[in-house]
């Protein structure tokens, strides 16, 4: 059953050095506050899994938390490249980063296979694609019924998944709505799941019956962090801070400027600071 804990303890109790961790969110509902807490606690040798490792993985990689990244699109969505990730891949700074690169279709299928308890995902993909030649985890199987050759990739099974969601009820059931992305699969594929939420409500009696609700017993720990996905957004609460994504491109371009920004905006801050960052974005949502 889900426990409610302050974010600092939630991260300390669920993340360990060397873990395979997924901080998922497909542009929407990115668990930024949880990622910043992990950075403050200084974890090392993490294998970071995510379809779209945007700003938070750029920050974690730049701060030296990651040994390996498993991903399918390493960009700042709509803006350009991830400059800290690039520095790690191109120059081994702050230290070399192993990468396992896939397509979105492969990662989505791999999470689903993880949630379904399967060892691998099978799909029609990677035909003619160069990734199949550089990633040994991209293989193929032959359909026993039609003889069609299909792509196979191993299931994603994180030690721990972090997601951000709209709200929890008092029992710890969690609502995710809007662009639901891959979060349900990422939670159900993981050994442990930590969810940050905007708020806690008494019950979910007024919800539409088909909404995406993760029952309390699928979630290990819940932390209430209003604004916890900034500069990403929470549908119904606050809008995406597109200007911050544009600004990140300049901050991350320079090692010193990046360090200073991280010191001031992450290391010296707490989870409580997120609420103030979304105030000007609330009425736009």
């Amino acid at each position: 059953m889900a426990k409610f804990l302050p974010l600092k303890e939630a991260v300390a109790q669920n993340l360990k050095d060397g873990d395979t961790a997924a901080f998922e969110g497909f542009t929407h509902l990115i668990p930024t506050a949880a990622a910043h807490e992990a950075i403050r606690q200084g974890f090392r040798d993490l294998t970071l899994v995510r379809m779209t490792p945007d700003l938070v993985y750029d920050q974690m990689i730049g701060m030296g938390l990651a040994r390996k990244a498993v991903f399918s699109y390493a960009g700042n969505p709509g803006v350009g490249l991830l400059r800290r990730l690039r520095d790690a891949v191109e120059n081994g700074f702050p230290h070399p980063l192993e990468i396992e690169e896939h397509s979105h279709a492969a990662m989505a299928n791999a999470y689903e296979a993880g949630a379904a308890g399967l060892p691998c995902a099978i799909f029609r993909g990677y035909r003619g694609a160069g990734l199949a030649e550089v990633n040994p985890n991209i293989r193929s199987v032959t359909c026993p019924f039609t003889g069609e050759k299909l792509a196979a990739v191993p299931a994603v099974r994180p030690d721990v998944t972090f997601i951000h969601a709209q709200k929890a009820d008092r029992k710890g059931n969690v609502l995710v709505e809007g662009i639901v992305g891959i979060q349900k699969e990422a939670v159900l594929a993981a050994k442990r799941a930590v969810v940050t939420v905007e708020e806690v409500v008494d019950d979910f009696d007024d919800l539409h019956p088909n909404l995406c609700v993760l029952p309390a017993w699928t979630v290990h720990t819940i932390s209430v962090v209003p604004g916890g996905s900034h500069p990403s957004y929470t549908h119904g609460y606050y809008a995406r801070d597109n200007a911050a994504y544009l600004e990140w491109d300049e901050i991350a371009a320079d090692r010193e400027r990046f360090r200073e920004w991280m010191q001031k905006n992450v290391m010296e801050k707490t989870a409580e600071d997120f609420a103030g960052r979304v105030e000007h974005l609330r009425k736009a949502a």
Binding site: F26, A74, G75, E112, F123, L131, G181, Y233, N242, A243
Partner: protein
């Protein structure tokens, strides 16, 4: 007729290729602008799909990312990402995959992964995202990009998304039964693959453009169709629609900057 830029011509020429009946998987950037101009002019019922799971979306402003809230709020429905790729793309329901490219070769193969060697890249680009499967599962693929010798090259550094491979029947030989790239729209011209070799061939020059300009900004020796047409200039409606859309977009993306009190 008012004046227009080559980029505006590119976006508008690309928008004209889309129809009301299309179900279009939209890449971010130039494809997104073209798809929404089509929707706001001659194809109001076109179904636009972004890989974040938003189906039948009608954004008021162009999204900065494929997952902006605007896309979900205006969509007919929003589905989980695995469903997007399994049922809708792999299931064969997408008529047009609309892609941009960092590097492109004459057979419509696209690289958005690395410049240089994969394991020791000179420049690490974002990678493929949804494109490898969009390129093979959509019924056909349209590509749009501004011409440059760096972008349109003899040999791409990495096959992120497969086009026509080495040309001819290469797709068929790999068991790919979709048409692949059937249209390339640049800021200078409209290109279509040769029926046999599948090499992109210029079929129409945009107003004011010449064969020489097309060749100067392309890294391979360009083939031109025997009967070369001129792309009709943008209409007032097309230009106004595009410019209004871009002005709304600019205001919206900058509007979230926190002002000092």
């Amino acid at each position: 007729m008012s004046t227009f830029t080559p980029n505006e011509m590119m976006t508008i020429a690309a928008s004209r290729a889309l129809t009301n009946d299309d179900v279009c998987f939209v890449g971010i950037g130039a494809p997104s602008a073209a798809c929404n101009v089509a929707r706001l002019t001659h194809a109001p019922d076109i179904t636009l799909i972004y890989e974040s799971g938003t189906i039948g979306t009608a954004p008021e402003v162009l999204p900065l990312s494929i997952g902006d809230g605007e896309l979900c709020e205006t969509a007919v429905t929003t589905v989980p990402v695995p469903e997007m790729f399994r049922y809708w793309l792999q299931g064969g329901r997408i008529t047009i995959g609309f892609l941009g490219a960092a590097q492109l070769d004459r057979f419509g193969n696209i690289n958005t992964t690395v410049i240089g060697d994969y394991f020791h890249p000179k420049t690490r680009l974002p990678g493929g995202g949804g494109a490898p499967e969009i390129a093979t599962s959509s019924h056909q693929v349209y590509i749009t990009m501004a011409q440059s010798k760096r972008g349109m090259v003899e040999k791409i550094d990495f096959f992120t998304s497969f086009g026509h491979g080495e040309g001819g029947d290469h797709r068929k030989r790999l068991g790919i039964d979709t048409a692949g790239p059937t249209l390339l729209i640049t800021d200078l011209a409209i290109w279509k693959p040769d029926a046999v070799t599948k090499e992109f061939t210029v079929v129409s020059l945009h107003p004011g453009m010449t064969r020489e300009k097309v060749q100067e900004t392309c890294g391979w020796t360009v083939k031109f169709a025997e009967r070369l047409e001129e792309t009709p200039a943008p209409t007032e409606l097309e230009l106004t629609t595009l410019r209004d859309l871009q002005a709304r977009t600019k205001a919206s993306h900058e509007g979230t900057v926190k002002r000092a009190a």
